[in-house]
Symmetry: C3
């Protein structure tokens, strides 16, 4: 993000706001935090430093895993947590209160940060404008999910040792997949990245992203066929194709079959490639794939913990 002044409130709103310098700083800290997590004595020290702070988790739509990851991360830092699972239904929002008013009231209780999940695009930015404390966007509508984007990027750093010089195959529902889109955007900041987009015709990567890549001179290939270019990928970022999002007339069962990663695909992949997935996965990666060391998606999910710890540290000026 742009260099913040000393007293500036640090929000986390959009994936593209992370600049290269900040990413590097965060990755160093995440590496360290991941070690601290395995060392009870250092963890206790970390928590003692964090005591006194608290975080609010305000989820207008439920997302149990994301919320629990944020709350566990806060606990690991010694922060207390106050939250709501279903603010949309339960809170003053149901009575018609604006996001701005809700956030003004909540930020009046002095939390170290407010983690917000919302069903509307741009909600986090509106919240930030009304807030005296940092807003962390935990997903707003189909817009942004910046902490997921960062943990995806961190997965490359940890698993492959680099976030450049990579051929990245991104597959599944590219038209609607928020995480896939965000990762492509973030990766476009790094040198020598090449993309392979694998999607059914009606779920192709949208033009705004392709235009962005063209402007930056970044090479990408589009195909409906998974197997053809699979051998070239260093990273396979796979997502689910949902029936209700396919164009009418398209045979879902056939597409589903075609977009299911199985052991057969493993044979085609590079030996040191990795498979990522934002989870939950249903059938789009078969369970038999899990045993393969290249299946990185559960490790990827686990990185969410130190990633969110580092982001809390950054917004609270502990970092």
């Amino acid at each position: 993000m742009d260099q913040p002044r000393a007293n500036e409130i640090r929000h986390i709103l959009r994936g593209q706001d992370f600049d290269l310098e900040l990413i590097e700083e965060l990755f160093k800290r995440i590496d360290t935090l991941d070690e601290i997590l395995r060392d009870p004595i250092k963890l206790a020290e970390l928590q003692n430093n964090g005591r006194g702070r608290q975080v609010f988790t305000v989820f207008y739509e439920p997302s149990t895993r994301t919320r629990m990851s944020f709350e566990a991360a806060a606990n690991n830092l010694g922060f207390a947590v106050v939250g709501t699972e279903n603010a949309r239904e339960f809170s003053s929002a149901a009575k018609g209160e604006t996001i701005e008013d809700t956030i003004r009231v909540m930020s009046g209780y002095y939390p170290a940060a407010i983690v917000m999940r919302h069903h509307e695009d741009g909600a986090a930015t509106r919240a930030a404008a009304a807030s005296n404390v940092p807003i962390i966007n935990a997903g707003d509508g189909r817009g942004q999910h910046p902490t997921q984007a960062l943990l995806d990027l961190y997965t490359l750093h940890r698993e492959l040792g680099r976030t450049k010089d990579l051929t990245v195959l991104v597959g599944g529902d590219l038209a609607n997949g928020r995480t896939a889109r965000s990762l492509v955007y973030l990766l476009s900041k790094f040198n020598n990245i090449e993309f392979i987009f694998v999607a059914p015709e009606s779920l192709k990567m949208s033009d705004d992203i392709k235009l962005h890549l063209d402007e930056r001179g970044i090479k990408y290939t589009e195909t409906e066929d998974l197997e053809n270019l699979l051998p070239e990928a260093d990273v396979v970022y796979w997502t689910r194709v949902q029936k209700e999002r396919l164009a009418t007339g398209v045979n879902y069962e056939q597409v589903k079959k075609q977009y299911e990663l199985s052991k057969n695909h493993l044979a085609l992949m590079k030996k040191d490639a990795i498979i990522m997935h934002p989870l939950p996965r249903i059938n789009e990666i078969q369970i038999e794939v899990d045993e393969d060391p290249r299946a990185a998606y559960f490790r990827q999910a686990a990185y969410g913990l130190p990633v969110r710890m580092a982001l809390y540290e950054w917004v609270t000026h502990l970092l």
Copy 2:
């Protein structure tokens, strides 16, 4: 409240139970706590003193803001929190268990206090009768919401420096507004208070309150016109008129228009008056009013935090 004996359980059930001596003691402590909240070192000390205690928040109907305020207050004191957002639907209550049984079980887990929100009038008093630990009423039906009443009163203390010698305009839905009714009741204990009640005919202040004021010889004026007496008010306590509560045949749009506080009204008000509102506000105070320093409602909400901290301290004999 009546002088408690050393071992007596201190409940917080009704606004009118606060006596003047206790109010004075609490206000002193709330002033101090509000300073501590801005001083990380003193806050850490406070929390270390509170460690080991825990609070249960048992909400039979959701009220996210009130719950979060109580939970944040507990965390600030170093108390752990265990809670439920929707006990009515989720808990044994759904199977037909009485409040008394539920409270007996919960008080058997040794919480420092049970904060209870309930949809039935008098639920808190029933709970207190069955409990071995302090019950804090966080609103029961249309009956009582004593911590809101105290924070409203505290707002006068903080914003105006006094809770006496005041002309208080209370407006909106006075027939159903729990907070407006409670504030009038509490203020009637102080010297030289005068009330102006502004409400549509069908939502006038109810007779029980007016009788109470008559008995105490407290002056009040009733009007449907906001602007007429606005220049005399030191405090404007404003609430929402809900369509479904108006008498049939009354034109809601017209009433709504008439009971919307706007910039025009600011021009009529005293320079050192304040505008209060229990929030959430929808349209009954226009957003343009927020910028005026006399708009005290967001500060009022924020006082809820130290107010609830002081009340926890009082019920747990820390105060």
Copy 3:
């Protein structure tokens, strides 16, 4: 449970897995913890030892009391808590994710234990197979609720000083009552236990349990009449008969009347017998019974706190 090796993950999945040696060790520790709970200084010490750990409470069906008991127990040990009240509706499970995947992700966040409540029989065992951290079964379907079984057994230890040489009357809905069935199973491990089963014909104790007792040579009597054998019981474990579980054609009102414990029954009971109930109770024990010192059910519920504390200590190798 079978002797765990040093590095083995200790799960709590089924009541019958507790072996006599472990039960004895746990009961000693629960006695101690119950004393510590009443001593703020020792409790603070205990919590300092536990700091740094956190527990996840993942409830696929709501059970407010059980969840709060587990969360309060965790807080008492200094563990942080992250939880969800309604994972079935809110979480990735709703999108079709398997229990195994959910648990793999959650156990990747390093909790000290995952407490899981699930609507399907055997869910806890499936979770344990996928988990890198201890799973504590907080009830899975109509299968098991081992921590309730242990607290029931502990109640005998505390209230009567023994878990052997007892005549135990178990009454109500014995066909469906998970807690009644589990207690019978656990008690069958101890010497000189005799059972009296009191149930309507269509809700009799099922054959698997009776076969188990026969194999162990344990005496039991079956009757529909409560009063007849009541004078012989050292323990009356009473449960609710639900209308919808009676055979069609059976008069519910008559059965209900017949299975309501009242003051009249107290007169028939031994002077040092105890009445237990898993709670919530509706009408099946009349409120007038509560005052009798033999009414142990609220004390029984309260034992759940130190029982769950001891079980956390055991699974985390603190015990």
